[in-house]
Amino acid sequence: MGDVAEPLIVAEHIDKVYEMPGGSLKQVLHGIDLSVREGEVLAVLGPSGSGKSTLLRIIAGLVAPTRGRVVRRGAMAERGESGVAMVFQSFALFPWLTVQENVELGLRAQGLGPEERQERALRAIDMIGLDGFEGAYPKELSGGMRQRVGFARALVVDPDVLLMDEPFSALDVLTAENLRRDLLELWLERRIPTKAIVIVTHSIEEAVYLADRAVVLSRDPAEVLADVPITLPHWRDREDRRFAGLVDQIYSLLTRRAPEPATGQARRRPDPVPPVRSGLLNGLVELLEDAPREDIYRLGEELQFEIDDLLPVVEGLELLGLARVQEGDIELTEIGRRYAAASLLERKEIFRTQALERCLQLAQIARVLGQKANGRMNREFFVDALEQNFGEEEAERQVDTLIDWGRYAELFAYDQESRQLYLEREEAARAPAGAEERED
């Protein structure tokens, strides 16, 4: 490692455990080793909720790791300065400060006088292409211009390492592309003294376009899945075969999951239910009906879905046994094809059968309701039950999803006002018997 370049930041064995409001613990990061080397753009990739933003905040010193440590090297660290600056997904501009005042913020904290502040701020504003806007307030600017202010504010303090938390994901496609190019230009032409850039993103394409190296994280808790070097020369062409190959390679890394049991049937998994409504599941089935085998990455591009939005749907179909995923491709199973061709009512029937068989949580809810004389149960009961495994926030989200699935499958109904799940009369006739049979 040492022969490439001196690492500027080394994160060693980082663990992060959050205490959830319910008192349970949730581990977000597990044993993460990461080094940021001089002269590189490092992308941290992962699905949403994987804790990549937390990792960035630990590197920035905003969040303390539960275990492990972050060591900073370089001239600034030796002077006791943090040497990092950050660009935020939400821009994090102060709405009551003008562009120039926003940019001057970091300089002010360094105790510089007004003349020097102004001079340096104006230079940064100039460089990032905001000339003429220094007196404007953020609300007068478009999203792209706002993020330019975010960049100017970060660059004006001449950081050793520039940290970026999904800096382009709140922008529309064209604006994002424009800004990405401008940043890359500044970096490649060495017009900024920054020694390294770390960018957190969920867009694989963005990572392959910008970075020299991509660290791919898994989820629950996040571990380093792979460290992929990206050696294509700049400027990179998205149509290039090697570009697409790299994107595909990372995609399959992200969609790969633990090997399934050999039989594949009656799989009772305590996995979390992916947060996706039944409507979206149906939508993807419709799409797949015409295309027997589809590349997930292409699919995402076609639908203009980010991987974060698409993966839960894919996982949902997988969980229900309606589709299977192989090497970054997705296709409908036998049942899935039957489901796609079925009428509305038949679909519900198939969905019900599959859900009771393959979704442990849903089967349990149906059983609990069936065993109650009045067929009613408080929502909290199920949240509490899930909370031990997932923590409160996640448990709430899962119960939301389960209620949606259960309603669609007509397994039970839900009363928002009393916050109770209950069996309607015809469901009462159906669920308990069906569910209890399965109860060995």
């Binding site: 920035a60 905003l62 006791g80 102060f94 709405p95 970091g106 105790g111 007004p114 220094e134």
Partner: protein, 570 residues
């Protein structure tokens, strides 16, 4: 920085007639402060000689105004300090937040006489004690909800901005001025304005106080009115009411409007909105060459130097993050000591009180509670239809809402004796008569909240209702009432709090030589104060506080939660 425009951005402004006005206004203000300030420390015996001549009114009004402003700035400083401590130090927050919750439930007027006696004792022979007591009473009416407003924004600061402050290593001082105060500005200004409006009532009450059989007066518009009522001088009363209204309007136009218009820059939203509040006074000030120059030549450099001094780079945080153990122990010991002292004093004071007294007072409390509930309900009954009618018509709403606001600010206790005169003529006792007296001051809160709620009913819902031909009862139950429910609850909470305070002055009223009293906790406290029975006062206030807290927890909080969840319009 944001509070003044940056030097590079200033417009070229020329000296003009605006500057003359500004200069004159500043001179007048200084003159008034000096003159009134001189009178504040006048010896006590000079008081009580209130002149009922209309020409004396402006000066009295000025004195009242000065009191209310002193109290307001004290409240502001308190709100920022207390809110900051409660939000930033977890261990202080554990004590300070519940304490604040209790403090705001205590009916302030019950304490008035006691504090007057206390402060008068501190400065015997001078009116300074009374002045402090009056300012203190107004302060207690203003400070709590301003503090809560500041505290609530501090604990819910936008996370990304907080992180940006951290990454760019802003000092605590810079954070306060760049993040914390600006974030809370809008809410702080709105709450300040409401507190300020509500505190006229306390001003009027605190200018004439009876304790231990003695009535003391402070020169001011409230005591002018009180004296006019006692003498039955109708003309003077009309003058007082007119000047009071002028005062409220002038303060609104010259002080609050500019501040509200100015505070718009602290909106969190990222898009410019079409109709921002405007203020001609603010525009005037912004065009003033004089202010501009003073700012550029003196204020800005001084501020710059001061900020840099306060936030000069120091050792990185860490040690500063934790409260010093020494201070912690010292403060805890101090707090415990004070608590013990208060308990001992309280126990001594209450030693002579038996269970029978407590039960009697509790009974009186329930009577008053029924009055409060009736006042709020009756208030809602007429204000809901009227408020909705006003609020749904944009044309009417534009002029009626400020009127409702003035009515809410007007100190209703100044009008009590007039109503009592009618009650006497109708041969109605105060047992029922206290209810309209309470309503006089509090129904306006419901009214202007309902107006605001009705104005905010989304256009698409109204259109949908029209398309599906919702009318009459159906329209009310399906659209209007659910839509205004959150505002109605907010108005109700404010009105109930006001009614409790009003009970202190509404259940015992004099007109000419006659005094009317109702059976209730308010009258009990007032009488006990007048006779100097400290133990009874304390018992009465304690019972009232308990009732207020119980009502808040059992009635208002569930309603509020319902409003927040089910009837929340997005």
């Amino acid at each position: 920085m944001s509070w003044f425009p940056a030097p590079g951005l200033t417009r070229r402004v020329r000296l003009g007639w605006v500057d003359l006005v500004v200069f004159a206004a500043v001179l007048l203000l200084l003159l008034a402060v000096v003159r009134l300030g001189g009178r504040l420390t006048a010896p006590l015996h000079a008081l009580g000689t209130i002149s009922l001549s209309p020409s004396a009114l402006p000066l009295y009004a000025g004195e009242s105004l000065l009191r209310i402003f002193i109290a307001f700035f004290a409240s502001l400083v308190f709100a920022v300090g207390y809110g900051y401590a409660a939000a930033k130090s977890p261990w202080a927050g554990r004590v300070l937040v519940p304490l604040l919750d209790i403090l705001q439930s205590v009916p302030v007027l019950g304490f008035l006489a006691a504090t007057v006696a206390f402060f008068a004792g501190l400065f015997p022979g001078s009116s300074l004690g009374l002045e402090i007591a009056s300012v203190f009473a107004i302060f207690t009416a203003q400070a709590w909800n301003m503090t809560f407003a500041f505290y609530h924004t501090l604990v819910a600061l936008p996370r990304d901005l907080e992180e940006a402050c951290h990454v760019y290593r802003l000092s605590r001082w810079s954070r306060l001025w760049y993040l914390e105060l600006p974030s809370s500005a809008i809410s702080l200004v709105l709450n300040s304005m409401m507190s300020f409006g509500g505190s006229w009532f306390f001003l009027a009450a605190s200018e004439t106080v009876t304790f231990s059989g003695r009535t003391v007066l402070l020169p001011g518009i409230g005591s002018f009115m009180a004296l006019a009522e006692r003498r039955g001088d109708t003309q003077a009363m009309i003058w007082a009411v007119a000047v009071m209204i002028v005062l409220i309007v002038v303060v609104d136009q010259l002080f609050w409007r500019p501040i509200i218009a100015w505070s718009q820059r602290f909106k969190m939203e990222q898009t410019p909105s079409a109709d921002e509040p405007q203020s001609f006074v603010l525009t005037l000030l912004r065009r003033s060459w004089l202010l501009e120059s003073v700012q550029r030549a003196a204020l800005r450099p001084a501020w710059e130097r001061f900020s840099r001094y306060v936030s000069r780079p120091r050792a990185p945080a860490g040690a500063a993050g934790r409260p010093n153990a020494f201070w912690r122990i010292l403060l805890s010991a101090l707090a415990l000591g004070l608590l013990a002292l208060a308990l001992r004093e309280g126990a001594q004071l209450l030693a002579g009180i038996g269970l029978k007294d407590v039960l009697h007072v509790a009974y009186l409390g329930i009577l008053t509670m029924l009055r409060v509930a009736t006042a709020v309900l009756l208030g809602a009954v007429w204000t809901v239809p009227v408020g909705v009618a006003i609020g749904t018509s944009a044309r009417v709403g534009r002029w009626a809402q400020p009127l409702a606001q003035i009515a809410a600010s007007f100190p209703a206790n100044m009008l009590f004796p007039i109503v009592v005169a009618w009650l006497l003529a109708l041969h109605t006792g105060l047992d029922l008569g206290a209810i309209p007296l309470m309503m006089l001051g509090t129904q306006w809160y419901i009214l202007f909240n309902v107006i605001a709620g009705a104005m905010a009913i989304p256009q698409d819902l109204k259109e949908a209702a029209r398309i599906f031909d919702l009318r009459g009862i159906l329209r009310w139950t399906r659209l209007t009432l659910p839509a205004i429910f959150p505002s109605l609850v907010t108005g109700g909470i404010t009105a109930a709090g006001g009614a409790w305070n009003a009970s202190i002055v509404a259940e015992l009223v004099s007109w000419h030589q006659r005094t009317l009293a109702a059976q209730g906790l308010g009258a009990y406290i007032t009488l006990a104060t007048a006779h100097g029975q400290g133990a009874d006062v304390l018992l009465g206030i304690a019972v009232m506080s308990v009732l207020v807290i119980a009502m808040n927890r059992l009635v208002w909080r569930p309603l509020y939660r319902l409003a927040q969840t089910r009837y929340h319009l997005e």
